[in-house]
């Protein structure tokens, strides 16, 4: 049986479903009023996810999903995006909005192949300032000040 992405996804889903069943089994079942309690739906859904995931994982024929091997450029773009996403979330409050956002846009544009650095810096800093104006000034969202803050 060929191991393709669809089958792996199905298998992972089945595992998640089973874990949910195990975790939810600890909940109380009966309520005083009759009818199912808090355990009923999570356990049923966990089982359903496990069965559907298992069905997909063990399906006879793999389907025609476009699983083209990613080229070097695609790996750089995906990797760059993922790294930027995780790092941005990690430093968002510590470095503050303007610094972390500018850095985020620089990393992304570089990963997507923009090499004109003055353009990159202008878009990054301009974008950070503009979105800051919209969210912090206009909508009153308390964006983290971080390094530049009081």
């Amino acid at each position: 049986m060929k191991l393709d992405g669809t089958r792996i996804t199905g298998a992972v889903a089945a595992l998640v479903g089973l874990l949910a069943v195990v975790e939810a089994s600890r909940l109380a079942e009966d309520t005083l009023t009759g009818g199912p309690g808090p355990r009923f739906l999570p356990v049923s859904l966990g089982l359903l996810v496990a069965v559907l995931g298992g069905t997909i994982a063990l399906r006879p024929a793999p389907d025609r999903t476009r699983e083209t091997p990613a080229g070097a450029g695609a790996v750089l773009r995906i990797g760059g995006t993922l790294a930027a996403l995780v790092l941005y979330a990690l430093v968002f409050e510590r470095l503050g909005y303007l610094v972390s956002t500018s850095a985020f846009v620089v990393v992304l544009m570089a990963a997507y192949g923009e090499r004109r650095w003055p353009v990159v810096l202008a878009v990054a800093i301009g974008g950070a300032l503009a979105t800051h104006a919209v969210f912090a000034r206009w909508l009153g969202v308390p964006l983290p000040p971080g390094l530049l803050g009081p």
């Binding site: 998640v16 309520t31 009759g34 999903t65 450029g73 979330a89 985020f104 990963a111 308390p142 964006l143």
Partner: protein, 503 residues
């Protein structure tokens, strides 16, 4: 009838207020732009712009979000015709004949007919919405928990079954979404489930970070994987008005596709993409020259464009009257209504009549604005296609992050968004639809409450779901729906068997 007109009058009074006119205009404008830009669809836009509406009153905000929704159906046709790339999925069918018309030098009439068909269908859709809403509300007021449970189950099953490559994949993501909906305190007893000691999870997963992650972040990752290079198309567009022959060819197409699109839009789970596909196929079958479809016939542009606009009006019917969304975009709009503390459902028509009728009236106005906006500005939209993806993608992510943070200023939401972004990317890569997850997450707590309330009322007797006729009918539809693909599969297998044995 008189009360419909009276309500509509009230609606127009609301929609014509300067501030609402402005937001309607902003909505359709943003929607058109979004529709033109490839790789970012209406559901992404509604999700990432939702936080911007928190400061507005709900009526203005809903008017704007709806404008984005139907505006994007207009914009999507522009790229479909000019560069053979649908701006969003509902314009897929428009590429078939629209692009061929553009290659034959008839880009102008194709764009013009797309805009006019959208306008006519949008208006027909709004009229039907208005006429259908009242009777449906009357029926919905008699719904008890059993009926709502059955209805939500049906919505999830049809959405799960229709959007994906296979029914199993759609049902899996729908069930997973429902499972995510059980995270947090149990709505009836308060027992905490799947919280793993994380305080942020006690209230359940916030829907907006999940929706933004699954739609916006995943879409950026998918686009980044493909390629960020893009072709710039140079074309001269002359004469946007369709000829008299074009009009004659579309005489029957426009009303047919409008009504069909609306009906498909009303059905839970069947959105504008399906509507446009069906309309195209119906038109091809009804045509006297079906063999010419795909070579640049004007009906091939008018039918899908009319249908997808009518469908977005149709999709408002279950959302407003029953509080049950039928698509990814309306699911996000339902989430928005709940964030504003409104309870979607039949009572919305009584308690928030100004909001509902204001929205309906604004859709008339929005359709006029779109026609006025689209015909003269098509040249501008074409130029918009040159915004480089490497600038566009970082900004979509930037808005995703800031919008998510704006909801409750909690970094935990950012992690949720990133995790669901990666999950959505991986799922889409392997043909699993993500919209059912969002629908499941939003409907989950309601579905569970209705299920358990129905059983409390019946003292644990499950026959309540088959004894009440409406609930039984809806559940029968669910069973039929699930059994049908299995039966088809078994039938195909049985037919294939002898041939396989011979070989």
């Amino acid at each position: 009838m008189t009360d419909v007109l009276q309500n509509l009058g009230m609606g127009f009074a609301v929609a014509l207020a300067p501030v609402n006119l402005l937001y309607c205009f902003v909505g359709v404008l943003v929607g058109t732009v979004i529709g033109v830009l490839p790789g970012i669809g209406p559901v992404t836009t509604v999700a990432i712009l939702l936080p911007l509406t928190f400061g507005m009153n709900p009526t203005s905000a809903l008017i704007m979000l709806a404008g984005i929704y139907y505006g994007s159906q207009y914009g999507g046709s522009t790229t479909a015709i000019l560069i053979n790339t649908p701006g969003e999925s509902a314009s897929v069918m428009t590429t078939l004949d629209g692009y061929q018309m553009a290659r034959a030098g008839r880009a102008g009439p194709a764009l013009g007919m797309a805009a006019i068909a959208s306008f006519i269908a949008g208006t027909v859709g709004v009229v039907l919405l208005m006429l259908l809403a009242r009777p449906l509300v009357a029926v919905a007021l008699s719904f008890g928990p059993a009926e709502y449970f059955a209805l939500m189950l049906l919505a999830l099953c049809t959405l799960g079954g229709l959007v994906g490559e296979s029914v199993a994949k759609g049902l899996l993501t729908g069930a997973f979404g429902l499972l995510l909906g059980t995270i947090g305190s149990d709505p009836l007893t308060g027992a905490s489930r799947f919280t793993f000691g994380i305080p942020s999870l006690l209230d359940g997963l916030e829907f907006l970070p999940v929706a933004i992650g699954l739609f916006a972040v995943a879409e950026v990752l998918t686009t980044a994987e493909r390629s960020v290079a893009q072709q710039v198309y140079e074309t001269r567009i002359t004469g946007l008005l369709p000829t008299r022959e074009d009009w004659r060819a579309c005489r029957a197409t426009l009303p047919r596709a409008s009504v069909l699109g609306f009906v498909v839009g009303v059905l839970p789970g069947a959105g504008s993409t399906l509507a446009s596909i069906l309309a195209y196929l119906v038109e091809k079958r009804a045509s006297r020259h079906p063999e010419r479809f795909g070579t640049g016939v004007i009906e091939g542009v008018a039918a899908p464009e009319a249908a997808n606009n009518a469908a977005s009006a149709g999709a408002m019917v279950p959302l407003l009257t029953l509080g049950v969304p039928g698509s990814g975009t309306t699911a996000v709009m339902l989430g928005a209504l709940m964030l504003w503390g409104l309870r979607p459902g039949p009572l919305l028509f009584e308690k928030n009549a100004d909001l509902v009728w204001g929205l309906i009236a604004s859709m008339y106005l929005g359709n006029v604005m779109l026609l006025v906006l689209n015909l003269p500005l098509i040249g501008l939209w074409v130029r918009l296609l040159r915004v480089p993806t490497r600038v566009l993608l970082p900004f979509i992510l930037l808005f995703s992050f800031t919008g998510t943070y704006a909801v409750s200023a909690n970094v935990f939401d950012l992690y949720v968004m990133v995790v669901f972004g990666i999950l959505g990317y991986l799922l889409q890569r392997h043909g699993f639809p993500v919209a059912p997850i969002v629908l499941g997450l939003i409907l989950g707590p309601m579905l569970e409450t209705h299920l358990r309330r129905a059983l409390i009322l019946s003292r644990g007797d499950w026959s309540v779901f088959v004894e009440r006729p409406i609930a039984a009918t809806l559940l029968a539809a669910v069973v039929l729906y699930l059994a049908l693909p299995i039966a088809l599969w078994a039938w195909k297998r049985a037919r294939r068997q002898p041939r396989g044995a011979r070989a």
